[in-house]
Each structure stands twice: as C-alpha cells, then as structure tokens.
Symmetry: C2
Subunit: 577 residues, 2 copies
C-alpha cells in the first residue's frame, strides 16, 4: 500500500470540475494531493475523520494590493492565511511609486518565506500620470519591466489604466510595456482598470491587449465586457443581486473571479477573500459557484496550473469548514500542513532606501502662510476642493476669499488648508490647496500614505496642529497621524517607504480603527475616511486633486491655479494662466 | 471615424463567452478583430454584407500529429486551412524518432511560413520504450528537452505514456522531463496518454503532473478523469451519444476539446477538425457547444490567449458558414485575410539527414530463410502474431510448425513472414516474426512508416515480392509499398525521414486510398489497414509486437522468442530463455 503523509476520511470534498461536494477521502503526499476517492487504501502517517465537515481548496485572490492593508508581506501572510487565503497575486504599485524597482524587489524579497504563496504583478502605471504632474520615488519603464519579467514570481502585468495611452494611436509607454510583456511571455495576463468604458472605447481598450477588469461593474457592463473577451474580477463593491443574476442568466461563471483589491487594516481583522465569498453567497450565488470563482477560475486566469482545486498533483492548500451555511473555518492547511495560531516570524530589516524615505524638511509656522496678489476689490477667486461624503471623488467649488496685505484669509467659511510637500528629491517643493467640508473642529490630518505619489500631505485648520503632524511624520519617517489643536490623537507609524507598517496586523488594524474615529472626532466623515483623505492626491481619481506639482483637473490633466482673477464657467477645459 | 481593413456586416457572429450567435458587425484592423457590435461606424477598406451567414472562430486542434497524415507542415497547411483549421498544436514524435532533435527542428523550420499557425509539443516519449527494445534514429532526453523549451513555438509537453516511468517511485527519464518542463515553464501543459487507467493508477498518473488525455474515453472514464483534474481531448473514436450525455449531465464543457489526433492522408481529403465538429453535433451536441470546444477551450488549455474567439485584439482567424445545419464553409480567413484556392508554395529542400534516412542494405533471397534447432518430433513451437480485424491490437497464438533440416515451414496454415530490419546504424540487424490472418493472396506489404521506431518492416508470403518491396524502399529512401507476386501495385513515396511524402495531400490521399485497396486485394482487411500494419511494430500497443530487437510482450515488455521448445500457459509472464 502506498505511504502517504495525511489521510482525511469521510469529508464532503469540493470538486471544482463538477462544482459540487462529494463525500470522499483525501490522501496527501509530499505537500500535494495524492488521491481523492472512496475508502482509500493507503498507509497514512496522520489520519483524521472529517465526518460532517466540508473541505474546499485554499482561496486565491487574483487582484489585490498588499500596501492597501498598510503592511508587509510577512504580516499580511499571518493576517490572511487563517481566513483561508493561501495564494495571492499582488500588484505592489505603492511601493514601486515610493521606491522604484529596487524598493519593489526588496519588498517582494522580504516576503520570500511567507506561508502564503505570493505571486506578483508588474506595476504598469508607476507613475499613473507623468513627471509633469507628480513626483514619485520611482518609475517603472521598459527597462524595469524587462528586468521584472525575468522573475518567475511575477506572473502578470498589473492594472493598466492610462486610457489615452492605451487607446491612442501613438506609441505610448503603456503600449510599449504591454508589447514587451507579450513579446517575452505571450500568455502573460494583461490586467486592466477600465471603469465605465463601453462600445468603441471598450473595444479599443481590449484591442490593445487588456484582458481583465476589476473595477466596479453593473449587470450591463459585466456582460458587455465578458462578451468582448474580458475576465472580470469581482470586488466587494461590484457584488449585488443584479450582478449575480446577470452571471447566471448568461452563464458567465467561468469568466469571473472574486477578488479583494483593497482591504484596509481594520477590515482585515474581520476577514479577507472569505468575506467576499460570503457576501457573494448572501447576494444570491450558490455556495459551490462562489467557491469555484474564488479558487478555480482565478488560478486558471493566472496560469497557476498547480492549484485551485482538490485533485491529484495539485498543491495541498485547503480549508476545512464546520458547515456550509456559516462558512465557519475549522482549520486551514497550506502545502498539506495545518496552520496553527502562532504567527510565523515576520521580522525583516528593510534597507535605508525603504526605512528612511521621507526626505522633506520640517516646516515652520511661516511655511503655512498663503499669499496672493491676484486681488480685486479685496477678494481673490479661489478654486476650492469640495469633499463628498459617499465617495472619494471631489468637486470643484468657486469661492471668493478675503485678502489683506496679500494674505489670504482661508480660515473663513470653514475651509481647511491642504498641502503636499515633495519628499523624494529634497526639493521640499510645497503646493497648497483649500478644502471645503473637511473638518468641524480644530486639528490636522497628515500622512505619507497619499496615493499614488505618497508625498507628504497635510490637511488642517490649525497651523500648530498641522506643524505637529508634519514634524512627527518626518521624525518617524512616515505614518498616518491625526492631531487636535493640542496634541496627537493617533499616530499609525508607516515606517517602510512611508506607506507600510511593521506592526502586526492585529495591532495595526486596531490603531487604524482608532484613527478613523479620531478623524470623525475632528468632523471628517466618509464611508471610508482614510481613502477619502489619501486620495485627495490621486491624480487619476475624479475631479480635482493635488500633488507636489499643484492642483489638477483630473479629466483634462490640466493644472488648475489655486487663485485666479476670474473664474471661467467651463471648468473642465480651464488652462493654467 | 476609425479606419479599419475589413468590415463584415449583419452576420450571425459566434460569441465564445456567451456560447451563442448574435447578429453583429465585425471590424478587423491590422490582422486582429477590432470591434464587434451593432451597426459599426468605421471607415473600412473592404466591406461585405454577410446577411444570413454565420461567422465562427478558426478551429484549433490541440492534439495531433502531422506525420500521421504522412506529409510536410507546408502541405498539411494547404490541406487543412480550407477546412477552417487555423491553428494546430503538433506533436511530431515520428520525425523525432526517425531523426532526433535536429530532424525535428528541421521539420519544424520547414513549416515556418505556413498560413496555418503551427505550435508544437515536445515529443516526450522518443523512444516510447528504450534502447533494449528498439533502435530509433533519435532520442529525446533531458538535454534535448532543455533545448526545445527555448523555442517559443513549442508550447507543451506531448503525450507522456510510459506508465511505469510515470507512476513508479524511481526517477525515470519521463519524470525528469516533466520536472524540467515545469521548472522552466511552470504553466506548461503536460499532456498524457493514459488509456483505461482508473482509481489509484489514474491518481498516480495525474499526481505526476499529467493534466490531459486524448485516448478513447467512456462516459464513465471522462467523468472520472475530469473530476480528477484532467482536460480531455475528444477524438473521433471517443465521440458518441453516451459521452455527450455525460458531458452535459456533469456540465463538463469547459474541460474538453475536440481534436483529430491522427488523420490519414485519404481521410484528409474529406475534412479535418470540421469533420469531428460535425460528428459531435450529429452525436447530440449543440452546434454552439461543439464550436466552443473546437475553438475556445483548446486555446485556453494551450495558453493561447491571442485566439479562440471573435473578440477585440484577438487574431482575426475565422470561418464564414453558409448555414449552421450543414456547416458548409463559405470562406476561411486567416489573420483577417481570405484564403484562396491557390495553395501556398510548399517546396522545401530537406537535408540529407531527412532525405537519405534509410541506411539498410538490400536483402537477397537467402536473407529470408527461417531456421531453428529447437525441434521436437519434426516440429517447433512458434509464437505467432494474430491479427484483429477491428483493432490494431494483436493476439498471441501458439502453433506447432514443421521443421525440415532446420528450415521452418512457415508457409503452412496461411502464415506470413514478418521482418524488421534496422535502418539507422547500418547494423542491418533483422528480426523475424510470423503472422496469422494477414494475406490471402501471394504478395508483400512493406514500409518505413512503422510506428514508432520506423525501421524497415516487410510482411509477406512470397519471397520475391518481399524482396521487391524491400529493395524499392531502399531505392526511394522510404515509402509504403504493396506488391503482388509479379509486380508492385502501389508505391507511396515517403522520402522525408521515411515517413513523410513530398506530394501534395490531394495526390498523396488518392495514392493512400489506392494503397488500402491494394492491401485489401491481397486479403489484408482491417477498419484501418494501414494503421493495423504499421503498428505491428508499436511496442506500446497490445499485445505482441515486433522491433529490430525482436518480438515483445507489450504488457511486460519482455522479449518473446519466435521459437521455443514448449509453450507455457501464462503468456503474460513468459521470460525469454
């Protein structure tokens, strides 16, 4: 009789090919499934009876960003593997924006020994705009792509999003990158980010080689995109009854997968891809189908032929569930071995490049003074950023502000001062914006976790609080900090590249949860306060955003002056004067 | 408006993702599909109205052997593209057996400019047994595999079939080959040949990394294999109503593809993968599903992400059908260009290695004399090969033959003499067998197309005819020849490696058809006469076969003496004395 390492008897085993549970025994040999059948006759070192239990493959997250959880690969692994996520494909574009290809490589290497299997995407859009619009700590060009293509852990091109570059006639960088990838690896998945494109726009995007999308879908868009050849990665905000109905009506299961995309550290305390899976079931999907699209289809989409099902020869990654209704996890196995509660060692000494990445000088009071000479009748026309409670999109608001001796009285009408300080080249270049609807009480919020360029960004209505936050961010080389007028209320250290914490996720999550409540205490409200603030600097997110190069109209990519003599009506086409 | 090369209006276009026909326009730009939608607004160089016509993707054959059609890549391309086959994955193991890696490379390179897109498999089993059992003109070992893995046209490992090597504990060559492939290309498809394996045997086969099978299936085996993780390539002999019922009942469509495997030259006159597709429909499959498994699933299985559907960015390979019931082909497009009737230039000068590959000396009458000293009462016990009318399997028959002065009277009881002459090393080693049930009239059949070693094999009951055939095979350096007692009835020259003809398939097919009738005229009958004869030398095909090393019991791989003192009952375990 064959000698095996592990034998599980009488479980309801999920068969990914038949999309159903069948009562079977499972034998595991040398970290792989060996044989799944009835009443196996093998000699097993360890044997367990799993009567009434369910066994499903380990979950595979085919589109996500580790830095969205503000953590390291090691800590991320410890955080998610207990939720049954055993494989991820990570697009670490934040680290690439902060520290370029060398920082990216270091971050990848730091996670070399995680229990979790981590594959990587080549960040395709670093920066997501260009040097004229933002200063980043690194760029991924053709040379970097060529270099990264040599790494067997890197298995796809991350979300291409530059619509103009992708659909235009010229040979843009993103077109060159796609061509390089397909030239060297013809079956490399080319991932896209194409919200709301349809018709010829969508055709052009796909014609350029882009074969997947993970942005928010409607029942209509998911059918249009899949019928044009896209694989759709369904994240939380896409999931609803209409989407699931559209999937069933059009028989689209094989062309979709569940993904997490971004999970904030505090949410990570509650679950990972298993949460999305449960949400899919609660939205009307059959459990068997939800499992299939969290295991089998993502593996196939990513060319990972050694996993995604419970079948001979595949890596023995699996979850034992107590029951199918609650999806309560009994235990998780990676490579045929049970995961215990003791976290794996997560320590790693990051180099100076990542540990000391905030090069900016400390600001003093006089740095916060806003002056203008564009005065007319004691007033200046200002282009103000208006916040939304329900999204991360902003509005542009035209306001007239008082000016006295060229000093602008921005404190009127409850405005906040917003500044971005360049932190890579020691230029210390600072740009200002003004925000309406941000804070109700005196205080400041500041962070180096400011997408995508991750320069130093401070928002506040109290100069002392802003200085306090700015100075602390430099002292600790990155973080996320809230201060009221007298003292710091929460300080989440993000000391790796200014975007990632060394704290275990259990601690980090609690601190981030508290950070939110501190933001709320100052009067900053949003369905995701942290993303709302941190995307004030995201130049590919509507409508008016800021970088170290100034304010920008996202749609036209044109610069917007903070102050001007007179507002024009057609804001979208405004040209800098 | 966008400028496109080709615009097809009002066709019923097959959507592979929705598995249905939808009335659409199709725009093609730079050899790729650009946009498929209603009433397209584009400027087109060429525009056609396809009202009432159907458009489906070009057919993709994911498992086949060009040499089974006894032809060159160029002639094969000309023969099949008019039937709508636009991509094949060829496992050229016959050429590799005949001429090793250099011959294989030359054969591949000879087809570099075919209209048909040809991808290749690494022949995994050259030889399919070992040096002790047969002499081949080449071997594919680890070094050759490593070399071939560098070629981007080579996209999978061809059918691994050595059950002992694959399932045993030792580190066999085939295990090393699989490991090497997956080490260098982790998502390389590893194709298998695993007839009738089930249970733990099947699990072991799949555990070793083998992920597909194209051998004949039953309704039960197809479900067992797919539920264990295999992709099943369905060839003609697998197709029947039970199989199709099993596919539908278990929802297995995404895990199967239609393939041709082997198509004889005369059959190639009638059709290619389109014939299998029609057979699938006639056996009860929905046309849409039959198209899906001849286009989309084979592309996905082979990681060919640039084809297999009509969608933006994919290569514009497609077929226009007059109607869906007859599947009558109106026209075929490759890379967006219509295929016309004029064959592409198929000339190619093969090197001496392939053009002069039959090194054996011409035999004379005395070479055909069969002697033995194992005589008892004037008789010798002989192990005779018995033919089957309905398969290529043989039986072992025990007969007592008269011996006079040590000369064996094999002519009694309608026996034929079978000889295999080694033709690679100039050893001229000859082995004899005796066959019952082969010929009714006087004559001989001979060929260098003798699977898998392709030595020179002659069967006959008339020494002059055997000599005539053998001598001609040497004169023309390979062929397939039938002679009656007075003259040659048909001679199919196979002058490339002794297995491939330079004739266009239109001529070759007719000659092969005539060859069959000549075999029939001599009394040789089988549902496939040519394969029946040519697999008398196939040492992995049941039950008793012959090579230049002697007669073998295929199951045990033990040598069988042609003559012995006394037969044992348990033939399967007989050991050579």
């Amino acid at each position: 009789m064959e000698q095996v390492d592990l034998l599980l008897r009488n479980a309801y085993v999920f068969n990914s090919y038949l999309k159903k549970f069948i009562k079977k025994d499972i034998a595991v040999k040398k970290h792989k499934f060996y044989w799944i059948d009835d009443e196996l006759k093998v000699n097993a070192k360890v044997e367990k009876d799993l009567t009434d239990k369910y066994v499903i493959p380990g979950l595979i997250d085919s589109h996500m960003h580790i830095e969205s959880s503000m953590t390291t690969p090691n800590n991320f692994s410890n955080a998610v593997i207990k939720f049954g996520t055993t494989t991820i494909v990570a697009d670490d574009h934040e680290i690439a924006n902060v520290a370029g290809i060398n920082g990216l490589k270091e971050y990848i290497n730091s996670g070399e020994n995680t229990l979790l299997d981590i594959f990587y995407a080549i960040p395709s859009s670093v920066p997501s705009t260009n040097e004229q619009m933002e200063t980043t700590g690194g760029q991924i060009g053709i040379d970097e792509v060529t270099d990264l293509l040599k790494d067997p852990r890197i298995i796809c091109l991350g979300e291409a999003m530059n619509f103009k570059g992708i659909t235009g006639d010229s040979t843009s960088l993103i077109k060159q990158i796609i061509e390089k990838c397909l030239n060297i690896k013809p079956n490399f998945p080319i991932e896209g980010h194409c919200p709301q494109y349809s018709g010829e726009d969508l055709a052009k995007f796909i014609y350029a080689g882009i074969r997947s999308d993970h942005t928010q879908q409607t029942a209509q868009s998911i059918v249009e995109k899949i019928s044009n050849g896209m694989f759709i990665q369904i994240q939380r905000k896409t999931l609803n009854k209409d989407i699931i109905k559209a999937i069933y009506e059009n028989n689209l299961l094989e062309h979709v997968a569940l993904v997490t995309d971004d999970v904030m550290p505090d949410d990570l305390l509650k679950g990972h891809l298993n949460s999305i899976l449960k949400l899919a079931i609660n939205s009307g999907m059959k459990p068997e189908d939800a499992i299939y699209i969290s295991t089998y289809t993502p593996a196939r989409h990513m060319n990972l032929r050694d996993r995604g099902a419970i079948a001979p020869g595949l890596i023995a990654d699996f979850i034992i569930l107590d029951d199918l209704s609650s999806f309560k996890i009994n235990s998780v196995y990676k490579n045929g071995l049970v995961i215990n509660d003791n976290n794996n060692d997560s320590s790693y000494d990051y180099s100076d490049k990542l540990s000391n990445s905030v090069k900016a000088k400390k600001l003093v009071k006089s740095d916060f003074i806003l002056k203008t000479n564009l005065v007319k009748n004691g007033l200046v026309d200002a282009n103000i950023i208006g916040l939304n409670m329900n999204s991360t999109f902003t509005n542009q608001i035209d306001l007239k502000l008082e000016v006295k001796d060229n000093f602008v009285n921005w404190q009127m009408q409850g405005l906040c001062l917003l500044l971005v300080q360049e932190r890579y080249s020691e230029s210390n270049n600072i740009q200002f914006g003004l925000v309406k609807g941000a804070l109700a009480k005196k205080g400041a919020i500041g962070s180096t976790w400011a997408h995508d360029h991750h320069n130093l960004m401070i928002l506040g209505n109290d100069i002392n609080a802003m200085m306090r936050v700015q100075n602390r961010l430099i002292d600790e080389q990155g973080g996320y900090i809230v201060s009221d007028e007298s003292s710091i209320l929460e300080d989440v250290p993000l000391t790796v590249g200014g975007v990632v914490s060394l704290l275990p996720v259990s601690d980090l999550g609690k601190k981030v949860e508290h950070l939110r409540s501190c933001m709320n205490n100052l009067g900053y409200y949003n369905q995701n306060e942290i993303m709302s603030f941190s995307t004030l600097s995201l130049l590919v997110s509507q409508k008016i955003k800021i970088s170290d190069k100034g304010l920008f109209d996202v749609k036209t990519q044109n610069k917007i002056p903070l102050f001007c003599f007179e507002h024009k009506k057609d804001f979208g086409n405004r040209i800098i004067k």
